[in-house]
């Protein structure tokens, strides 16, 4: 794993050895922390898969610490193997992953996303991209409330932003060593409990001190050019190479994806994700990334806009004057794009030609709506944004050439927003940027 690993400040433990990184929350017992650090030192081409398998084997006999949040990331048969346990969440540059129900556990394969963010369950994502941060955990165990894996910094002669891995680990030769007392392997299994003789890391002393050299600047640093991230490169499993010799005559196409090949779905790593909750489960109402707003609840506790008269979830009446309460806001509405895609406006939506380059998208705080410009219209990589505030939605110009336009419901003509201006979207408002059009539909009464 040549990726840059930035430790997020706070309680807990982050460890990295070669290709494997782990995070253990402060709720983990010292024995479990020590075990995780020990296990992280086991290297191999599929160390992530193997670590996940060893933990699954234990959990299938009974979970010794169901409330202990921890995460393991390491190489697997299909990119990165990710194992999450307890109240922890991971952002893989396209979605939040968390065991369902919480606490629980899940194992999956995630390619090689940038950024990959590991956080306690329900924690707010780190602000902005961490790309400019010079700190990079090369090896060792340090205190931390989570971590962010980013595109590896370019080495000498490398071109920034190509997405090419260096092919070598960031483990510095002769440099960092495991944190103090990380010690040898800790027994795991046989009976409930993570190691009978916890020693070293975290033995009743809280989080361990950083290992020697564990937290140091990256040679060469991270250039500003790296802040623009392309889509994660495709790690091929069983590359097909189809189409390489396909004739280019009309009606014949060859595989020409970003990877230069197809992905072999026969060898996809079996994702051991937890079953989805049933509707009656309390976990069914969970959403980790929704802001708190004021609203009213029906007699079954479903959270609604303060002006509704019937619950939008179950249809039960909500009498006028019902007491307001704070709750996790459902989607404010949907965006209908002119290509037919429909987007729920929960998190902000970044619209542009390459919206995944937006820091908010990389940090997991926004979703990306990729649109190609219409002929003769400029579309910036990050052109405009639609965000929800309270129960309302707003269109925000992101300062791109070509401008951002709005047409209110029932009105004629387009009004251009000033640079970085924002305007409220009403039900039925149209948005135009780059010659493309989206329509906002409110999910709640005005």
């Amino acid at each position: 794993m040549a990726d840059k690993l930035e430790v997020l400040p706070g309680p807990g433990l982050v460890a990295r050895f070669g290709d494997v990184a782990v995070w253990a929350g402060p709720q983990c017992s010292p024995a479990l922390q020590a075990h995780l650090v020990s296990e992280a030192q086991k290297q191999g081409p599929y160390a992530g898969d193997q670590l996940a398998s060893s933990f699954i084997a234990v959990l299938q006999r009974g979970d010794p610490e169901p409330q202990a949040p921890f995460a393991i990331v390491g190489p697997g048969a299909n990119g990165l193997a990710l194992f999450l346990h307890g109240p922890v969440q991971a952002w893989d540059s396209g979605r939040w992953l968390a065991p369902q129900p919480v606490p629980g556990w899940m194992a999956t394969s995630i390619g090689r996303p940038w950024p990959l963010i590991i956080l306690p369950y329900g924690a707010a994502p780190p602000p902005q991209s961490q790309q400019g941060n010079p700190f990079d955990l090369l090896s060792g165990a340090v205190p931390g409330s989570g971590f962010v894996l980013l595109r590896p910094p370019p080495g000498p002669g490398q071109v920034s932003g190509t997405g090419q891995a260096t092919g070598s680990s960031l483990t510095s030769p002769g440099g960092a060593q495991p944190g103090p007392g990380a010690g040898g392997p800790v027994p795991f299994g046989g009976q409930p409990g993570y190691g009978a003789q916890p020693s070293g890391v975290g033995t009743g002393q809280g989080a361990p001190a950083p290992g020697p050299g564990g937290h140091g600047p990256v040679p060469g640093g991270a250039g500003p050019g790296q802040s623009t991230m392309a889509a994660a490169p495709v790690a091929l499993a069983g590359t097909v190479g189809a189409g390489a010799g396909a004739p280019a005559n009309s009606g014949t196409v060859g595989v020409s994806g970003p990877s230069g090949g197809a992905i072999d779905l026969r060898s996809v790593f079996a994702a051991l994700q937890s079953p989805l909750p049933v509707a009656s489960s309390p976990a069914a109402a969970f959403s980790p990334d929704r802001p708190e707003v004021q609203g009213v609840r029906c007699e079954l506790g479903h959270f609604n806009h303060p002006r509704v008269t019937n619950c939008m979830r179950c249809g039960r009446p909500i009498p006028p004057g019902s007491p307001q309460a704070s709750g996790s806001r459902p989607a404010a509405g949907v965006l209908l794009a002119d290509d037919g895609s429909i987007w729920a406006l929960g998190r902000p939506c970044i619209i542009g030609a390459e919206p995944t380059s937006a820091a908010e998208v990389q940090a997991g705080a926004a979703q990306a709506i990729a649109m190609r410009a219409a002929p003769d219209h400029p579309m910036a990589p990050v052109h405009a944004e639609v965000q929800a505030k309270g129960w309302s939605a707003y269109l925000v110009d992101r300062g791109a050439d070509g401008g951002t336009f709005i047409q209110g419901p029932g009105t004629q003509g387009w009004a251009q927003l000033g640079r970085n201006e924002q305007r409220e979207l009403l039900d039925g408002s149209h948005i135009s940027c780059g010659g493309r059009v989206l329509t906002y539909l409110a999910a709640w009464p005005a």
């Binding site: 197809a262 909750p277 037919g340 406006l345």
Partner: protein, 286 residues
Amino acid sequence: MASQVADYEITSSVVEDRTAPCLRARRPQRLGGGDAPVTIWVLGPLARTSWAAARARLEPVASVHDDHLPAWLEAGISEWAQRPVVWVSAATAVAGTLASPPPGLDLPARLRAIASAARGAHALHEHGQLHEAICPQSVALVAIGSPDQAAGPEPRGTPDDATASAVLSPPALANGQAPLAQVGYPPLGYIDPQLLRGEGGRWSDIWALGATVHQAVTGSVPFPGLDELPVVQALSRLLSVPTPALGQMPDAVSEVVAECLSVDPTDRPATANEVAERLDEAASKL
């Protein structure tokens, strides 16, 4: 129609659908397994920058191996009709879909086909995945003797010999990271209003199964006139969480359909497997 997708030689079209064409192709020699036909779904068009998101959507689905899901082979991104699309191939030989069922596929057989698809959905749910595009188009009728898995035997019959066995087609993909849906696949009448409101779950696929059964029995979606509305108006109507208007159905079917289409997700069958069992039971009574 293009004659080739990647190095798959297209032999015929299983489903002429604008939003999710389903094709029959020769199996490339490099894949082994003889010359048994394979099925290819074309999804999109998508922006090339959406490939990573499409892959992130397809891989977890493909990792679920079940008799009621296709035996996936590969996925890639290619030009199709001069636009980039994602294609997905499977060893399962598909003979058609419930959107245009072959003549002679009676109602009990159609219900059993939907029950098969429901079991496929259940397998996805049990592995933490939603399908989000269940509709008659995604209930793929399997040819007699089609192998259940890539390593299985070759089909004994021809792909035109549809049986009541069915698998669930690929989920919908669309531009960007994680859109709710792409208009047309599934059609709006099969989208759970709760999903549109950002409140989706396995109950959303169960709602779509109910709508699919409703269409199979009555010939229409449970919201009369929805298909005739402009898309914006249709979406607005769905966002208001309307109560479905159910058509005439045999008693054995109407109860399970009504439950699947309940406004309150907690009133719906708890699992898609429960839907499958009740559909099989209903089919046996018809």
